[in-house]
Symmetry: C2
DNA sequence: CTGTTAGCGCCTTCAT
DNA sequence: ATGAAGGCGCTAACAG
């Protein structure tokens, strides 16, 4: 019923003008110590919080954001997902005076990452969203951001104590643990499990290795594990390697700790393989398709669109001064997706709009 | 880079004042047909969309919302969840000129619902969030809303063709299907399944029956199903009935299509029962506790806080004229929660703040 | 050190 | 039928 207190209210109560109140609120310009205290006290008593809409409306200069993430150059459809979140954020922030520059690099090429970072005029931005796939290469850029006091957030990959104001990603190890639990439920007879990795993607090894580690950690000793590295850039693959492996042994569980479960589901369905528990990652169309057909048993989802959306929003709120400065590490839920619930995850159900 | 077009831009281009533009935008007052057309054309060409922040800022009258949902009078902790979402929405909308009135009723008493509805001065509100637990009793109130042209949304329970602008809830049948699938994975030896309902909650029978129907529909003929109705208001329960049932038969699966799985987990753990697959609903603390202890195998979650949050936001956006008038039916994802991923769902991970 | 003023984009009242 | 002006809460430039 009672309206929120405004700086005008505070000014009246303190017997000063709104200009002075604004000055103490932003530590801008000199203010008499006594009036400063008086105003601060009133602010605290009344629990004043600024009206962000009004603030954004009145801000002269626009907020400029740099977004530095991989694209799908190496044919990985996963990276479209974070872009969906970015685009949603852009749309939602179009009411404000904001400005976005997207910088894409090839996630499979460190050189591409280095080149892109070198091309980003950091000082021209008020906030940066970075996916630091290559840690070493990112460090110098990060230092630039820190010295220039430009706030930045990470998505997907984290770097500890880098000075970022937030991180949005997944707990990769735990997702592997969950994959193991799910597989245990599906496998009862023989217990031969295949883990398939991509040999040409050592780049992502950190996440992938974490997933594998979690899986191995929880699957139990009574499972026989075979690990296979396949170069998916070879058009003969994964058929050649898988065919070879299957000649030697029957597998009833396959864990694919990356986004390309569909490649193996393609193979399995072509071979007419049945009763294999296939567990993969990410709700890309190809995976969803195979999930519905029964060629994939489970998909683990980490809501990459939500991650990037939240990352932008954090930057925005931080720049508007709403957020406290404490760092925010946000681990997405590890969604367990099966044929029967996938439809309810397909559309960006998490957004407010 | 280029700023959004404002009504001032349009006015300039059309050679009129912003007042006239505003009039055609809101069909307010008479405008010369020709200038009307000219302005409309410019609006369409430039793809003008109003700045909601500015609109909200300038609105004199505050938007008044009525929220009519159950509380926890009947000791059902579930209903706190929607309130969490409501409170978050209230907090987020506090920047705007909004005003909320919460009306609680006892979800187990139709009379309580009727009384509360009678006490709501509908005409004093600009939007209503209603949980129409009792359909018949709700219809008259709904008619009032319709005749007064007050927009309203449903959460949890839906009523078809009621004139609501949205519904946020779950697909109860499908959640039962999923429960069946999960149980199939956990049960391999004997296949005796118990379904436990609350006899004093016939009220919710629609949702509950849908869940049971979905479960029965998918569990398969090779499972023997026993259905039990228990009056949980009796302090002897559920121990008495469960003890009785277990004397007659061993169960290795229990499906509890309501929020009170923890009551049965209490019993099971006290009895030292092991190797029973218990599937329940909702992430209330008591359930989470038992999930972590291993007394509950799966919890299905429908994000009730997200539902109510979105419902309020829909009303708000509708009143600001942003949303199209088409009705929005939003079915929440059916989250599969196990011990290993529950921690990532505990905190309202879905919010932007 | 402090007050005044002109907007940001939109709505609304009051003149014309 | 249309324009002008004030105000929502806040920022920032300017004048004392």
């Amino acid at each position: 019923m009672k309206k929120r207190v405004s700086i005008k209210d505070i000014a009246t109560l303190a017997g000063v003008s709104i200009g002075t109140v604004d000055r103490v609120l932003h530590n801008r310009g000199e203010v008499n110590a006594e009036t400063h205290n008086r105003i601060m006290q009133i602010i605290n008593e009344l629990g004043y919080t600024p009206n962000l809409q009004a603030k954004a409306l009145s801000m002269k200069k626009s907020l400029r954001f740099a977004v530095i993430i991989p694209d799908s150059q190496d044919n990985n459809p996963y990276w479209q997902k974070p872009m969906d979140g970015i685009n949603l954020a852009i749309a939602e922030l179009s009411n404000y005076n904001t400005n976005f520059n997207i910088f894409h690099f090839d996630a499979s090429s460190e050189q591409s990452f280095i080149n892109v970072l070198a091309s980003v005029p950091a000082n021209e931005f008020d906030g940066v969203l970075l996916c630091p796939v290559f840690k070493q290469a990112a460090l110098q850029f990060i230092q630039t951001l820190n010295t220039q006091q430009i706030p930045f957030v990470f998505i997907d990959v984290n770097i500890n104590n880098a000075g970022n104001i937030g991180y949005f990603g997944q707990d990769a190890f735990q997702s592997g643990v969950i994959a193991a639990r799910l597989m245990q439920k599906d496998i009862h007879t023989s217990r031969n499990v295949l883990i398939v990795k991509q040999s040409n993607h050592k780049i992502f090894s950190n996440h992938i290795e974490q997933r594998v580690a979690g899986f191995r950690n929880s699957i139990g000793n009574d499972y026989r594990i075979t690990e296979l590295e396949i170069d998916l850039s070879d058009p003969q693959e994964p058929n050649a390697s898988l065919g070879q492996a299957l000649k030697q042994q029957q597998f009833n569980g396959i864990f694919i700790p990356n986004t390309r479960a569909f490649r193996f589901a393609d193979f399995a369905s072509a071979q007419g393989l049945k009763n294999i528990c296939v567990i993969g990652y990410d709700l890309i169309d190809e995976n969803i398709d195979h999930l519905k057909k029964g060629n994939i048993s489970y998909l683990l989802n980490q809501r990459p669109d939500e991650q990037s959306y939240k990352a932008i929003m954090l930057l925005f709120n931080y720049l508007l001064g709403q957020k406290e400065i404490k760092q925010i590490d946000n681990y997405s839920p590890i969604d367990i997706i099966i044929k029967e619930n996938v439809d309810y995850y397909s559309h960006a159900n998490w957004t407010n709009k």
